[in-house]
Amino acid sequence: MPETSQHAQNPREGMMATLSKEQIGRVLAKQGILIAFAIFLVAFTIANPKFLSVDNVFSVVRSSAILGVMALGVTFVVISGNLDLSVGSMMSFSTIVVLDLHDTLGPLLAIPAMFAMTMALGALIGFLVGYLRLNSLIVTLGMLSAIHGLTLTYSGGQNMDIADKEGTWFGVFGQGSALGIPVPILIFALLAALLGLVLGKTPFGRKIYAVGGNGTAATFSGIRRARTVFSCYLISSACVATAGLMQASRSLGSQNTVGQGLELEVLAAVILGGASLMGGSGTIFKTVIGVLILGFIQNGLLLLGLQFYVQFVVTWVIIILAVWLDIAAKRGKLWSPIA
């Protein structure tokens, strides 16, 4: 508004007071997660000086890499205004498939074959949500269960193991390191950089924001909405396939349920980063921050000597907190009787 600058030049005392008070509220609502995270880091470092040691930081990033790669893809889906709850069971599927094909086709063919199969699932979801306009929550919740069944059918319910664990180079994606940096971290970083550019700098990325922000207006602007949503699910499934590859490579054997529950952690990381579940906002950089926050919190709880299972509860609390702050940031207040 044009009046804004005029009033800012000769502010009245009373106005200054309300200004700063409301600004504090807004900053709290907007940056609340980062502030809470900073407090958390300081508190945990005081409680356990090992927490911020180089070794521990490296191990946190490394153990977050698989989740992180999946979160990169889900960021695309969430910004386009949809959900993807199938990524956990899809990751189990990729892991089992690539381990099985490793012994039948050999690693060189197993990897592209697994990518093709996983991305076919992504294409199916993209078709249902993008072109048929079905609700993404229903579609991907159903796919969560359907893909789980598919995985069990494929494996016959058995754990999958590579026969000759010593004689394969397949472990490089999960266990190797290059230039002194573990390969999982490299994959996560490179993929984050690549997808960050795609989302933030290309026309395709711009269209995703438009479709998620206001799909009708995007259509009225000549954007092919269905194709855009379809592409987001394809990217998400490619990320899941990458994560499955990393998982399989790390352990060279796997249960059918290796990715179970990851869909919620992934979603938590994306929301923690500040992407809105309504679509249209969020960035790859913010998602990486969200992944790290989640990783550090889970690691910190373990260092405190809490049971591993506590993290499931904590993850839920974090999701609720993040969603609350997201809404609060929009209305500029932590609580309001009207939406």
Partner: protein
């Protein structure tokens, strides 16, 4: 004269950086219809929120009768007898009329059970008073918008209303429905209720109100007796200058036919529609909401499949099956619903403006942001868009500036045919006249422009020719010279006038 039912004294309300209300005072007498006017952003909504207890004033007082009243919240305002009839209805569509009327206060029997017979009887008593043609058991979602509004009014009558505030009540009503509404308002007047009537529509204001209070930029501009003033004077109070609404036909040479439509039909929406638009002229489509005007525009833009007929661009027949194709063929549509269809409100100004051409603005694989900013700057200057910069979220702009962003977005595509649906809906008087001027300039520059509007002064002001639509058909076409208000109204009401292609 008796005491006012409601008196506002020196109300001040500031938001960070903005003085939304700066010393507003006026009073409403019993049985008076008091118009509250002002451009968008003048402070009307803020004032109503103060009255309704949603905002607390920084200073100033509200008096009801002779007592100072503090509205701590919406419930308290209602308890004190202040009732709002909102422009956007707030009804539960799946519930019955009676349940909606008494929502939150359903009559009870023992154990908290709802007393259905009493509920129906009470509701029907109120409906009878309003003289409406539906039953208390009807499902609200099945009623017309006008009848839904009657339900809101019925709800207002369940409390002992001292002051009733109507916010743009006629926005979606037909003329016949307006008559019913005005009757209800007259009844309220006779009962001594004070009425605040907010509207942009001058005819109504001069028909039913007793006094007019005008706000501009949060400042009280004065209160005048309706009988002692005229539209021009009130407009001047609202915008601080005079508004030009003269006829405005082209004085330049017209070019070739840019778009021709022959016998176009689309199911039940419109039928056998034929017209042509030349470069350099504005073709106005006038008619009631639902007459099929918007549907024609959407068909030309590839959003609907025609069931019959031809579309010719520059004399060549084309098939348009998607907005992408329409855009590639040089058709641009500024849609009627600015916020729902025109803009991504969470995006910044620049990104909104370049959205249709983002695929073409590339530097390598990336969006050429420099070129985007250049386009934004060009149209910001040309259309006088007031925004702190391209980074500003479009949702934070005023309605007029938002509409200019949408127009800039489509002008920057250099269209052969520019379709503008409701160019000035919901924007203030000042921006309105700027947009009218712009539409005339575009025609003078050789654009073929189609303007769809529900406002007769607007159509008369900007069009070279006018197609009057009724129930999916073009009833008559007029040139700017021959059209009269009467003949136009007859044509869009389906009265008289044979169909002319």
């Amino acid at each position: 004269m008796s005491d006012p039912v409601l008196r506002l004294e020196n109300i001040v309300k500031t938001f960070p950086g903005v003085r939304a209300l700066d010393g507003v005072s006026f009073s409403v007498m019993p049985g008076e219809v008091h118009a509250l006017m002002g451009e968008n952003g003048a402070g009307k909504s803020t004032l109503m929120k103060v009255l309704g207890g949603i905002h607390q004033p920084d200073s100033g007082h509200i008096y009801m009768g002779n007592h100072k009243a503090v509205m701590a919240g919406p419930l308290e305002a209602k308890a004190k007898g202040i009732v709002f009839i909102h422009q956007e209805l707030s009804l539960a569509e799946e519930l019955s009329v009676a349940e909606n009327i008494y929502l939150g206060e359903l009559p009870r029997k023992s154990f908290g059970r709802v007393d259905w017979p009493r509920l129906a009887a009470n509701a029907n008593a109120i409906l009878k008073k309003l003289n409406v043609g539906f039953d208390a058991k009807a499902r609200v979602g099945d009623l017309s918008i006008a009848n839904q509004q009657m339900v809101e009014i019925a709800r207002a009558l369940t409390v002992d209303a001292k002051a009733v505030i109507f916010d743009e009540p006629t926005a979606s009503l037909t003329d016949a429905e307006k008559v019913v509404l005005f009757d209800v308002i007259a009844d309220l007047q006779r009962e001594g209720v004070g009425i605040i009537y907010i509207s942009h529509r001058m005819e109504e204001i001069f028909k039913i109100t007793d006094r007019i209070t005008v706000l501009r930029d949060g400042q009280y501009q004065g209160t005048v007796e309706t009988a002692n003033t005229n539209e021009e004077a009130v407009t001047q109070m609202m915008i601080g200058r005079k508004l030009d609404l003269s006829r405005n036909a082209a004085h330049h040479e017209l070019g070739d036919v840019a778009l021709e439509v022959r016998g176009l039909s689309c199911g039940k929406l419109f039928h056998d529609v034929s017209f042509e638009v030349r470069r350099g002229e504005v073709l106005g489509f006038y008619g009631l909401v639902g007459a099929g005007r918007t549907e024609i525009a959407e068909t030309l833009f590839g959003l609907r499949d025609p069931s019959a007929g031809q579309i010719l661009l520059d004399g060549r027949e084309v098939r348009i099956t998607s907005p992408v194709e329409a855009i590639n063929m040089g058709i641009s549509l500024v849609p009627e619903d600015r916020k729902g269809q025109g803009l991504v409100l969470g995006m910044n100004c620049r990104d909104n403006m370049t959205l249709p051409q983002v695929d073409d603005l590339k530097a390598g694989p990336f969006v050429a942001e420099g070129a985007e900013i250049a386009i934004f700057d060009q149209y910001r200057d040309r259309l006088d868009i007031r925004t702190p910069g391209w980074r500003q979220q479009v949702g934070n702009l005023s309605g007029g500036n938002q509409q200019k962003i949408v127009i800039g977005k489509w002008l920057s595509m250099h269209p052969n045919v520019l379709i503008v649906d409701e160019p000035t809906r919901g924007i203030d008087v000042g921006s309105k006249s700027e947009i009218h001027k712009l539409l005339r300039e575009l025609a003078a520059q050789g654009y073929a422009v189609i303007v769809i509007s529900s406002e007769m002064p607007e159509v008369l002001h900007v069009s070279d020719r006018i197609a009057a639509m009724y129930s999916g058909r073009i009833m008559r076409s007029f040139t700017a010279e021959e059209v009269t208000e009467d003949s136009l109204i007859q044509a869009i009401s389906g009265l008289g006038g044979e169909q002319v292609a």
